[in-house]
């Protein structure tokens, strides 16, 4: 069975979803979903170790070898991202039951788990597959599940947010499909590795450029890269809290993964930049995203929205790392991908805990929670520090690499920008901390969040600390991935 881990990684949650639907009873569905997520987490750890020990794994689905059948490829990059998604998913699903009890009527629980598992499976499928079209299918699975998850939100605005997300997401996916169509008509293959080999040396450069543009714009919509980020704050702030926690920590990360895969492996960074200075464009967009989104976050009154906008800004960092184009920059992007996933998971689970007890996530709902919910707010503060990039937290490590990478490219303004971004982050985060710790709570007493929420929250918070101190896993994993990507197309 060990040789089938690559496919089981995706199939386990994929098949757990319909089983959950059959189970019907919310609690049973939850337990089953937990089981599936933990199993999947185990698989991802095993895969990570396997890849680290013996290099990329290729799995031919249906027994049809690579370009003819669909291939699953787990290499350093994908195993790294898989590990992140699985960590987050496990944390979120464990806390989901408590959070949902407070947020949704009971009959909607089991569909939530079904959709959650589908989204989870879809994201993993995108990461695991080596086939460009298979990506599209799994992209749509995860997207459809996400739209439905967002629409589950309590407010009617959730509906409209879901609708807008659906429109943008569908256009994005269709753009991606068009790009893949161009690439297919040029190469006659859908396998990414195969494409990467066939693409250089083609004469139809305009078409390659168009293909790249479509693929990138399509992914950028999913990634919520400025200026295509409009859907994200609405969707994230309206979705049920735990759904947000999962999406914020994984969905955009997977989009970035896909982007890196396409940009560095399939099309080749140098080839693309010879057509058009894309790298510089990314730097510019990333920079604008960092500044604008962070500034917008300061003015928000809803904590979920603050963090959602902060996500847009953080995506800016990720894109800057990619745009720098050197090994350090890519490593910074990958590190931040991982670390930011942990950060946002911690923060949104904390928000979920607050919503669970207080019933809202407006800033004034946080009054005095430092005393009323010390554990929740403690976890949140750790996440917040990590978001700012304080040393000994995971956020610091990725910022460190990003700044180093910018220095290596000699882009000093960018160094300044990254740091100013962190500085602004300090402001919007600290507003929340201040309200929580230094403003008295009026109204009914609030008790500490349930244990099942604190558990994942602190798991994520401690992960933030752990990966800020022992970086061998993250730095090592990302380094392997970078070597793999940069080595495949020097």
């Amino acid at each position: 069975m060990l040789s089938h881990l690559a496919v089981l990684q995706v199939v386990v949650p994929l098949l757990a979803a319909p089983t959950c639907l059959i189970l019907e009873r919310a609690r049973a569905a939850w337990l089953f979903a937990c089981l599936a997520c933990l199993l999947s987490l185990g698989i991802s750890i095993a895969l990570f170790m396997q890849v680290e020990a013996s290099g990329p794994i290729s799995y031919a689905l249906g027994g049809w070898e690579a370009p003819w059948g669909i291939e699953y490829r787990i290499d350093a990059l994908s195993s790294f991202v898989l590990l992140l998604i699985n960590l987050v998913a496990a944390a979120v699903i464990i806390g989901a039951n408590s959070s949902l009890t407070a947020e949704l009527p009971e009959p909607r629980h089991s569909p939530f788990y079904v959709l959650f598992l589908l989204c989870f499976a879809g994201l993993q499928g995108i990461v695991a597959t080596g086939d460009a079209f298979n990506v599209f299918v799994f992209l749509e699975i995860s997207s459809l599940a996400t739209y439905a998850l967002v629409a589950l939100g309590r407010d009617r605005r959730a509906l409209f947010a879901a609708y807008q997300y659906l429109i943008v997401g569908t256009i994005g996916a269709t753009f991606y499909l068009i790009g893949i169509g161009f690439l297919y008509s040029l190469t006659g293959t859908l396998n990414m590795a195969d494409m990467a080999q066939l693409l250089p040396g083609l004469e139809e450069q305009r078409l390659v450029a168009a293909a790249f543009a479509f693929v990138v714009i399509g992914i950028a919509m999913k990634l919520a890269l400025f200026p295509l980020h409009g859907w994200l704050p609405d969707a994230y702030s309206q979705a049920p809290s735990m759904a947000t926690a999962f999406l914020a920590a994984s969905a955009t990360k997977v989009a970035l993964y896909l982007f890196i895969r396409m940009y560095f492996e399939v099309l080749g960074q140098d080839a693309v930049n010879a057509l058009f200075p894309v790298g510089k464009l990314f730097l510019l967009l990333g920079a604008i995203a960092v500044i604008l989104a962070s500034l917008a976050a300061i003015r928000q009154n809803n904590v979920k929205r603050v963090f959602a906008l902060s996500s847009v800004g953080q995506i800016g960092y990720l894109v800057i790392g990619v745009g720098l184009g050197n090994a350090l920059g890519l490593q910074a992007a990958l590190l931040h991908l991982f670390n930011h996933g942990l950060i946002k998971a911690a923060l949104f689970i904390a928000v979920a805990a607050v919503v669970c007890r207080v019933g809202g996530s407006r800033l004034e709902d946080f009054r005095g929670l430092g005393r009323a919910m010390p554990w929740t707010m403690g976890g949140m503060v750790i996440g917040a520090l990590s978001l700012i990039g304080v040393p000994l937290t995971a956020g610091f490590v990725s910022k460190w690499y990003l700044v180093l990478a910018a220095m290596e490219s000699g882009l000093w303004p960018l160094v300044a920008l990254v740091l100013i971004g962190s500085f602004i982050a300090l402001f919007y985060v600290w507003r929340i901390v201040e309200v929580a710790y230094f403003q008295p709570r009026d109204g009914a007493a609030v008790s500490e969040a349930p244990l099942m929420l604190l558990l994942p929250l602190w798991a994520m918070a401690l992960a933030n600390l752990y990966f800020g101190i022992d970086t061998s896993l993250t730095v090592g994993g990302s380094e392997q991935a970078v070597n793999f990507l940069m080595g495949s197309r020097p």
Binding site: P18, L21, L61, G62, G63, P111, I141
Partner: protein
């Protein structure tokens, strides 16, 4: 279509558009796709649209202005695309790279490797069987999503009988009674004929669903739900996916890769055959029940609104 304010007309036009593209697909030698597009673009999509229109109203608000920014973006996009597609291999070229590399094997070897004449089905169900599993899951996701969005988690079949949509149409009812068994039969035919001609699980599922939907339209939603209760549908939607997925798992058990049907029998070709029949069954079940479920959810949602208003 852009300018018409009457949404009903727009929907009808888009139905015709679907039918036209289906005919176009036939011309392009894509029989399976045409079949599907006809069922979806000219069938399910307008049907759902119309159901929605009964609730949201037939006319849109008066608005007559051109948005210049989108227009500009579109013109630029069109220009860029024109420039790009001119580098495509010429339409119909025999030596286009896309026909050479991977496709060649499907055309040359699939009859021998899979043992069925319809290459589209071979590729769909075996070479790229995992895509199709994904496709089924997409339908499953949509069904779960629609139900939870419109009806809330766990809808119960209503007890009291609501008035049928077309109770006063005697002729329709009689003709419908005649047709429905035929439609279901045809569905079964498409289901199991997919290996030889155009057709397969998806198309069959849709046709099957149409039969039940027709029943619901003629004899009332509650009667239809008594025939196929929502609970059963939920169960069936999941069952289809599980059948498909378990075939894959069964392959693992007998020692092949996921979805490698060759191991299912002593002879690889027979194995493929068995596998494809099983997974097409899964597809058919999920698609049919998902479509019915979605339709039920839509009509229930529009109906409950009417009841609220009264």
């Amino acid at each position: 279509m852009v300018r018409a304010r009457d949404l009903f007309a727009t929907v009808m036009l888009s139905g015709i558009y679907g039918l036209l593209s289906a005919s176009f697909f036939i011309l392009m030698d894509a029989a399976d796709v045409a079949f599907t597009e006809a069922a979806v673009g000219a069938g399910i999509f307008p049907l759902l649209m119309l159901t929605v229109l009964t609730s949201v109203g037939r006319y849109e608000a008066e608005r007559r202005r051109v948005r210049y920014l989108p227009l500009f973006v579109m013109v630029v996009l069109a220009g860029a695309l024109f420039a790009a597609v001119l580098q495509m291999p010429p339409f119909g070229a025999v030596d286009a790279p896309s026909h050479g590399h991977v496709a060649q094997r499907y055309i040359q070897d699939s009859p021998a490797e899979i043992g069925i004449p319809n290459m589209v089905t071979s590729v769909l169900a075996s070479y790229r069987g995992f895509d199709t599993l994904g496709e089924v899951v997409v339908i499953f996701t949509a069904a779960v999503g629609v139900v939870v969005i419109l009806l809330g988690g766990r809808p119960k079949t209503p007890q009291q009988s609501t008035q049928a949509l077309m109770a006063e149409h005697k002729v329709l009812r009689v003709v419908g009674k005649m047709l429905i068994p035929l439609i279901l039969l045809f569905g079964l035919y498409v289901q199991f004929h997919g290996e030889y001609g155009p057709g397969g699980g998806f198309q069959a599922g849709v046709i099957f669903a149409v039969g039940i939907i027709l029943y619901a339209m003629l004899f009332g939603l509650s009667n239809a739900q008594r025939v196929v209760p929502l609970g059963v549908l939920r169960w069936l939607v999941a069952l289809g996916v599980l059948i498909y997925g378990s075939v894959g798992l069964a392959n693992l058990v007998v020692g092949g890769e996921y979805l490698n049907y060759s191991m299912l029998a002593s002879d690889p070709v027979t194995g493929q055959h068995i596998g494809i029949i099983l997974i097409e069954l899964g597809v058919g079940i999920t698609v049919a029940s998902a479509m019915v479920l979605i339709f039920f959810a839509f009509t229930r949602a529009t109906r409950s609104r009417d009841e609220l208003e009264e």
